[in-house]
């Protein structure tokens, strides 16, 4: 035990003597989480509150295009510019001056009305509500195409959301046209409303809590703090592995190999110190979320009643990160090996863990791989506490996985070292 404490104290001294490194270790993750939350929060605001200028080319000049224009304006998300032709619009979008151009084709209103009238007429004839007129020519209008030009730099999610929005508008207009056709055919008095055209089905967004009751919708802070805190905690493998490689280069590791001390004790001291660093990092992240974010206009992090569980999850996530760092530091021979590998590997683990793209949106085989990422286990555990309001029992599987990961990586490191130095 004395050797473990001596090793821990030595690690503490080494860490605190490198003031610049220590500052980077604590400040960079804070900078990361602030930057990401500000950006994501602003993106969310941009889509919700600020208007995106778009080009609308109205070749129809009918009631359908008027309805689309009106619907676009009603969303409040777009500032519609309608002074260009299709060719100009295409060029403006291609050069990135506008993110979107909507081209409404010629005769859209006329042809839609004609098609709907014919269909309504056919239905009513079947029911005998109107007389069959054989002599009328049967014109079949060509299907119409609303063209959407997107700036190549726009994200898939943006394009997808716009397409589904426009699709919804057009469907609504088609429905209203059908209702109108029936109204025209069946109503004796043009002012008499025989249909209730109000939408029957509405959507309500509910985030249920564990008691089955609705709770507040999580804001960008609630999403970002766990994800990026975990990312920062795992970045500890970088300084930890560099610390171990430095010992090899300084020759102190050679001396330790000749000392009557086990490699497990050497790693134990590093584990205690770097785990403490991870916990301090986590505490700072929470302080930033709770106290700093509201001051800079970001949503406040809600940790009420969750702190013990949050620290417990951070502790096990920190252990998993430290285990990985110990393994990398044991295997790597130079900083050139450990530093780029650690940095890239953390990014890969984060990607697999669902820090950037939710796991459910990944391809099937990536989803399977994601189950192997300790960052995924940690992120799920954090979301369980932050957003799903679970208790300690529900966290046991994820914490057990994180602990098992620490044990396995550390045991591999010890076994690798012993095998390399077996006499």
């Amino acid at each position: 035990m004395h050797k473990l404490w001596a090793t821990t104290y030595k690690e503490f001294l080494l860490l605190t003597r490198d003031f610049g490194g220590l500052a980077i270790l604590f400040l960079m993750p804070l900078l990361l989480v602030i930057t990401i939350t500000v950006i994501q929060n602003n993106t969310f605001k941009t889509l919700k509150e600020t208007q995106i200028p778009i080009v609308l080319v109205d070749q129809d000049k009918g009631n359908v295009s008027e309805n689309i224009l009106e619907s676009l304006r009603q969303t409040g998300r777009f500032q519609v510019i309608d002074q260009f032709d299709e060719q100009q619009a295409q060029l403006l979008v291609q050069t990135g001056k506008y993110q979107l151009a909507i081209i409404i084709p010629k005769n859209l209103s006329h042809d839609l009305t004609q098609k709907v009238d014919q269909n309504v007429n056919d239905i009513l004839e079947k029911f005998g509500a109107v007389e069959q007129v054989d002599s009328l020519p049967r014109l079949k209008p060509e299907p119409k195409e609303v063209r959407l030009y997107f700036d190549p730099a726009t994200q898939y999610s943006f394009r997808s959301s716009i397409k589904s929005g426009i699709d919804q508008m057009v469907t609504q207009i088609e429905s209203q046209t059908i209702y109108q056709a029936f109204q025209d055919q069946l109503a004796d008095d043009p002012t008499e409303e025989i249909f209730d055209t109000e939408s029957f089905i509405k959507f309500t967004e509910i985030i249920p809590n564990k008691d089955g009751e609705a709770s507040l919708i999580p804001n960008s802070t609630q999403h970002n703090i766990p994800a990026w805190t975990l990312f920062a905690i795992f970045f500890i493998i970088l300084p930890l592995s560099i610390n171990m490689v430095n010992e090899k280069n300084q020759g102190t590791f050679v001396r330790l190999k000749t000392n009557p001390v086990s490699y497990a004790t050497v790693l134990g001291g590093k584990t205690l110190i770097f785990l403490s660093v991870a916990m301090i990092q986590f505490g700072l992240m929470l302080l930033v979320g709770v106290y700093l974010f509201p001051l800079i206009g970001l949503p406040r992090l809600d940790v009420a009643g969750k702190l013990p569980l949050l620290f417990l999850v951070a502790f096990f996530a920190g252990m998993a990160a430290v285990g990985l760092g110990l393994l990398l530091g044991t295997i790597a021979k130079t900083q050139e090996q450990s530093a780029p590998f650690a940095a890239t590997f953390v990014v890969i683990l984060a990607a697999l863990g669902g820090v950037w793209v939710p796991v459910f949106a990944m391809p099937k085989f990536m989803q399977a791989l994601s189950n192997l990422s300790p960052m995924n286990w940690g992120l799920n555990a954090f979301y369980d506490v932050f957003l799903r309001d679970v208790g300690i029992v529900e966290l046991v599987p994820e914490m057990a996985l994180l602990f098992a990961f620490f044990m396995i990586t550390t045991l591999i490191a010890i076994s690798y070292n012993n095998r390399k130095n077996a006499l």
């Binding site: 030595k10 001294l13 003597r17 300084q250 102190t252 050679v254 001396r255 009557p260």
Partner: protein, 247 residues
């Protein structure tokens, strides 16, 4: 004290053995010098004896103990002064020594007193709280030595302990080693300073190409070699004058 039998080491990918079928017995209380040109196998031999390298074949015992069976006991028994400064540059001399002393199970006032005693003898007490990064080569060498002797080892291995230091530092180191030896520590050391070895060692072995060419007291070896006035002339006569560069 140290009994080596048919010890060989061939590095992975190497064409030749660095140490080949080496038999050697070193008695307790000796100051034994392993001398040889670059690449002769001195460091390889010391590395095997100090648990840093696994022999390819052969065996050895130190005070009747072997690494496989009694590693912990054996490591407690020996001290190793590596060729490089095996110290943490950002820690002070005292902090380095306190840490490495603790690794031998020393603690509390016993350890502190021991550190102070050695620092004083080697002229470093006033620099105890200075970081190693600020030390000169000679000062680092002396701290490097203290880190290996705090636990009063029965056997001390030194791999070129005076390389790159000034005459004053070298003198202090050698005097301190003599003091340790007089207190019962067996010393095995490698060096290229043949004059130093001639006056310091009680026994020397000249090694070349992984084999012992000659062994004996320095005075005996000088006497046995025709027209040799000192150990350096014996050394050149035995190993030749051709350069021994290797990579």
């Amino acid at each position: 004290m140290i009994k080596i039998e048919q010890l060989s080491k061939k590095y992975k990918g190497a064409d030749d053995y660095s140490v080949y079928n080496l038999d050697l017995t070193i008695e307790e209380g000796e100051i034994f010098g392993l001398l040889g040109p670059n690449g002769a196998g001195k460091t390889t031999l010391i590395s095997m004896l100090s648990s840093l390298l696994k022999p390819t074949t052969g065996s050895f015992t130190i005070d009747g103990l072997t690494y496989g069976k009694n590693s912990s006991q054996l490591k407690q028994l020996i001290g190793i002064v590596p060729q490089e400064y095996a110290l943490y540059p950002s820690l002070t001399a005292f902090e380095n020594l306190f840490y490495f002393g603790s690794m031998y199970g020393l603690k509390g006032n016993l350890l502190r007193d021991n550190i102070d005693k050695h620092l004083e003898t080697l002229g470093l007490l006033q620099f105890a709280d200075k970081k190693i990064a600020k030390f000169s080569g000679g000062m680092k060498r002396r701290v490097n030595l203290i880190a290996s002797i705090l636990h009063q080892p029965k056997v001390l291995f030194l791999d070129e302990p005076t390389v790159g230091v000034d005459v004053q530092s070298k003198n202090v180191i050698i005097e301190h080693l003599k003091q340790l030896n007089s207190n019962g520590t067996t010393i095995i050391y490698t060096s290229h300073h043949l004059n130093e070895a001639e006056h310091f060692c009680t026994q020397v072995a000249i090694i070349d190409l992984g084999k012992i060419i000659c062994i004996g007291k320095p005075s005996e070896l000088i006497a046995q070699q025709n027209e040799a006035k000192n150990l350096e002339e014996v050394f050149l006569a035995k190993t030749g004058k051709s350069l021994r560069d290797y990579a």
